[in-house]
Amino acid sequence: MPSEIRSRSWPWVAIGVSVAVALSLAIVSPADTVQGELVRIMYVHVPAAWLAYLAFTVTLVGSGGYLVTRRLSWDRVAASSAEIGVYFTGLAIGLGMIWAKPTWGVWWTWDARLTLTAVMFFVYVGYLALRNTADDSRVRAGRSAVLGILGAALIPLVHFSVVWWRTLHQPASLLRPDGPAIEDPLILWALLAGVVAFTVIYVALMVKRIELHQVADSIRDFERSADRPVAGASVTAPQLGGGLGDE
């Protein structure tokens, strides 16, 4: 069935193409006058951070959607997006740390953006942890939706932190009110290609993750319908003779 093969393989094709374009642009783009080749970390670091924003925004939408419609499909969207967002945040932090060592001389400092990014990371790790505690799917959906909404408040905080606290981290150079401040168009294109590639990866992962959630839910439903032991059946009448012997 070729159509099925096609429908199964589209994500891989899309990821392959976009990653190839992004990689080649990242390689041909010029090295930085100050940072040299290190600047190429940016092409992964920045898209990862932006995709984390996107992912957590989708979690916000999914959480709100669940609370309004009470449909578990919204919850699956929120949860899947949060998982991917945590990966992307971790990637941005990890690469940022690798970048920081040669440029700032330390792995980590108490820069506002760094701190708030870590805070955001912890909030969504907490979100995933919370999802693991409740066994009823509706209880879980409701509770995590609250956190999904609350956590989204951190997105603007992380983004504007460089404006509010002027410490170490690079200020916004692209997403800012008076237009991008990058002169070399190739750098701009490489960055954009990276963003596109990450977006494709994000969408593909989302589709897969939602599918997985669906399968997991239906497996649970199936198990539920199957014969399970009855809790009360294991309690039997006392054996009067047993421990008491001397009747």
Binding site: R70, D135, D136, R138, R224, R228, P229, V230, A231, G232, A233, S234, V235, A237
Partner: protein
Amino acid sequence: MSFVIELHDIGVDAGSMSILRGVDLEVGPGEILGLFGPNGAGKTTLLRLVATLVRPSAGTGSVLGTDLSSQQRYAIRRRIGMIGHVPGLYPELTLGENLEFAARVAGVSRDEVGSALAAVGLAGVIDREAGVSSHGMQRRAEFARELMIDRDLLLLDEPHSALDQDAVELVNALVKKIAAEGGAVILVSHDRERVARIADRTVELTEGTLE
């Protein structure tokens, strides 16, 4: 009028086990139902299900005309009284303060507290903290609460345990009053004779299933 409680093929799961399975039950207005069954059969779980405190994982049901799976079920809680195995008073508050809290939340005048406690014979200990009140006194206070808040459905888990003879009479009077006003009562007990004297009908729950 339709049924106060109507359960069809209800199941309740916990983890990898079923607690209740395929429970059908109908209780009409004015009815007093005795519920028996061995330890661990699921009687308490059934009461909590009817009180909207446990959600069914299978089947359909309605209580006081409200579907058990709908969001509206929270609106009927005010009309359902339950007394469980263990008292649910705040030990740091006095018996009077406990009832006063209940009255204010339920929208009953605070003046009712005194007379409700007097009715269960606790007028003299209104200022005693629940934590140092005897077990029977705490249970009496809970009955006073149910008396004070006019309930349409009363769920009693072994109401006679820990109550002395006088208090038992009182409980029976409360049960009959609610039934007479068109409400329904479920009495869980292991004391078949005592319940048989007051119940209109009795059912038996064994291994999560009603017979």
